[in-house]
């Protein structure tokens, strides 16, 4: 090999955007940037397959944890459409989302950031939001079977109607967006991966303790804390549908809160990603 190769023409991609970034004057054309949607789909697909391979045991843990809590509380909570039974089933179901989307995603991004794994995505021409949304979406989707199994088991265990379970179509993605966004932001902002893990665990514990207990029996300060937790609104929306005549406007408002928190958290996570990837 020799330096005689200097007269070779620079490679020009046939897909290059002519003039992109000011080609000409000896400038190589820039390869096209990848749009948000195709990049998001590619990351989502990869992350979902990754989660399937590596996280199935953890999904079992999440599901069994929720079912275990419902079985335990069955001893003290009467079955039927009372507020306690509704809170237990709805809280346990949303807990699966908190376990996977909040806790595991915070750990994933925390370790990725600490190990320098973000470099891989940061040197590809994709919007930061695509990486965060793709991973968050995959983790949220990954919770679907766990939530369904928990919700059906809980409904049977507590003699609640199964007819309202369709609301999970809204509850899972919107609670998932809020909690996954929060998890991603925590993982990317935490200065050390252990802190990301700790925050994720604490968030999940909060979702557990504040989600499965009916709010009426909680002290005022704890109720305020409960109102600050985005998973609460998912629990409320889901719990309302077990009743004989659900207040659909209220359900929509609760889900709207989840969506708003999700949008904010994912925006924060995308910002945190950009900050973590390029120093």
């Amino acid at each position: 090999m020799s330096a005689a190769s200097v007269d070779r023409a620079p490679a020009v991609s046939s897909r290059s955007r002519p003039g992109g970034g000011g080609a000409g004057e000896g400038r190589a054309p820039l390869a096209p940037a990848v749009g948000l949607w195709p990049a998001l789909c590619a990351v989502y697909r990869a992350q979902l397959s990754r989660a399937r391979v590596a996280r199935i045991p953890l999904l079992f843990v999440a599901t069994f944890q929720s079912i275990g809590i419902m079985v335990l509380l069955r001893g003290v909570v009467e079955p039927g459409p009372g507020p306690e039974a509704r809170a237990v089933v709805a809280g346990s179901s949303v807990l699966v989302v908190a376990f996977v989307a909040l806790n595991l995603l915070a750990q994933y991004f925390g370790s990725l950031r600490a190990s320098g794994g973000l470099d891989h995505y940061a040197t590809l021409p994709v919007p930061p939001a695509a990486v965060v949304l793709g991973a968050a979406g995959a983790y949220a989707s990954f919770t679907v079977p766990g939530v369904l199994v928990t919700a059906v088991t809980g409904s049977v265990l507590y003699a609640l109607p199964l007819t309202g379970l369709w609301v999970l179509i809204g509850v899972i993605p919107l609670t998932g967006a809020a909690l996954a966004g929060l998890g991603a932001a925590l993982g990317l902002l935490a200065p050390r991966p252990e802190l990301a893990t700790l925050c994720g665990q604490l968030g999940m514990s909060a979702a557990l303790l504040l989600g499965v207990l009916p709010p009426a029996s909680l002290p005022l300060a704890v109720r305020w804390a409960r109102d600050l937790l985005p998973s609460t609104y998912g629990v409320e929306a889901f719990a309302a549908t077990f009743g004989p005549s659900p207040d659909w406007a209220r359900v929509a408002v609760d889900l709207g809160v989840c969506a708003a928190v999700g949008a904010l958290a994912l925006t924060a996570a995308a910002w945190a990603y950009r900050r973590a990837a390029v120093r």
Binding site: A3, G26, A28, L30, V34, L112, D119, Y121, T123, P125
Partner: protein, 337 residues
């Protein structure tokens, strides 16, 4: 150090021109479990020019500033001062353009570890802008090229270190980029995999005119594959030339290595005379001598009483490691394999 003497000959300017680049990592305060660390100037006024189509190397031991330099070239790290021009684009002002100009192989694979080899490469191709069908085709081709087709369905973390590294090389090579920045691409690979990597890199240079910037601390590899090499030490470029040109710097000196069975026979006057100039590492002495002195030294230790104490000896022409030493670099961390 200015290295672009022939840059005017290159069509469309250099592939990569770095001027007076400075990067200092701030001092770290002591925390529980971690002692305080002073500020480190990892890039201390680096200037170099990489010509288009060239296979250009950055050689130096760990901590010399090689990775800091390439992280700035790839837009991952903002320099404190200086200019970076890649294929005509100012990357200090527009670091986001780096991803659209170059492919980067970092030292970490954690982003891909749980994916299968095929999915890791295909996803990277998609994220480099290839449509789905093209990405699938390009993935098949690059896996075939690197001999990875049979491992396509295995997750990266289940592979051996060398195989995993090869899969990461595949992700760097998929999707056309005029500049490839590869940070120690062949670490842990067996000779077959190394050959596959260099053949694939050469093919991209020959067919597409790709330029390659390679980080290495392996002197043998640097000598055999690089067109030109910049030698880094403590954040500075201490030399930059072709491997042959650099070796000419140390003149005719040859390297004599003596391995003693036990203690060196210092009672032999010729051996005692060599002692002060030898670099000692356990039972091994390394000497840099003129050809005449080397001949005399070999004659002295292979005849007479010294021979009984000698386990092995070798005589070699200068390597890049000798250049590195002659230029005042530290040897620890340079690999000869």
């Amino acid at each position: 150090m200015e290295t672009g003497a022939r840059q005017d000959e290159t069509e469309g300017g250099p592939a990569c021109a770095v001027r007076d680049l400075v990067k200092t990592y701030p001092a770290q305060r002591a925390r529980r479990g971690t002692p305080a660390a002073p500020a480190v100037r990892a890039c201390d006024g680096v200037s170099l020019t990489v010509r288009r189509g060239e296979l250009f190397g950055l050689l130096g031991p760990n901590g010399a500033g090689k990775s800091t330099l390439v992280r700035q070239l790839t837009g991952l790290l903002r320099p404190d001062a200086g200019h970076i021009d890649v294929l005509g684009h100012d990357l200090v002002r527009h670091p986001e353009r780096a991803a659209r100009l170059l492919a980067y192989l970092g030292q970490e694979s954690t982003a891909l570890d749980e994916l299968t080899v095929r999915l890791a490469v295909e996803t990277t191709a998609r994220l480099r802008g290839l449509p789905a069908d093209d990405a699938r085709r390009a993935t098949g081709a690059v896996l075939e090229e690197l001999g990875l087709s049979v491992l396509g369905h295995r997750p990266l973390k289940r592979l051996s270190g060398g195989q995993r590294r090869l899969a990461c090389v595949a992700t760097a090579l998929v999707g056309e980029r005029p500049l490839l920045v590869l940070d120690e691409p062949t670490t842990g690979m067996d000779p077959v995999a190394r050959r596959a990597v260099w053949a694939a890199v050469d093919r991209r240079r020959a067919e597409r005119g790709a330029t390659v910037v390679l980080v290495t601390h392996n002197v043998i590899e640097a000598e055999s594959v690089l067109d030109r090499v910049a030698v880094l030490d403590r954040g500075r470029v201490i030399a930059c030339d072709t491997p042959g040109g650099l070796k000419a710097l140390v003149g005719d000196d040859v390297r004599v290595e003596l391995v003693w069975r036990d203690e060196p026979p210092l009672h032999v006057p010729e051996v005692a005379a060599l002692g002060p100039t030898a670099q000692r590492s356990g039972r091994r002495w390394t000497l840099r001598l003129s050809p005449d002195a080397a001949r005399a030294a070999v004659a002295a230790v292979t005849g007479g009483p010294a021979f009984a104490a000698l386990d092995d000896f070798s005589l070699a022409t200068p390597s890049l490691e000798d250049v590195y030493l002659a230029l005042g670099g530290r040897t620890e961390g340079l690999v000869k394999a």
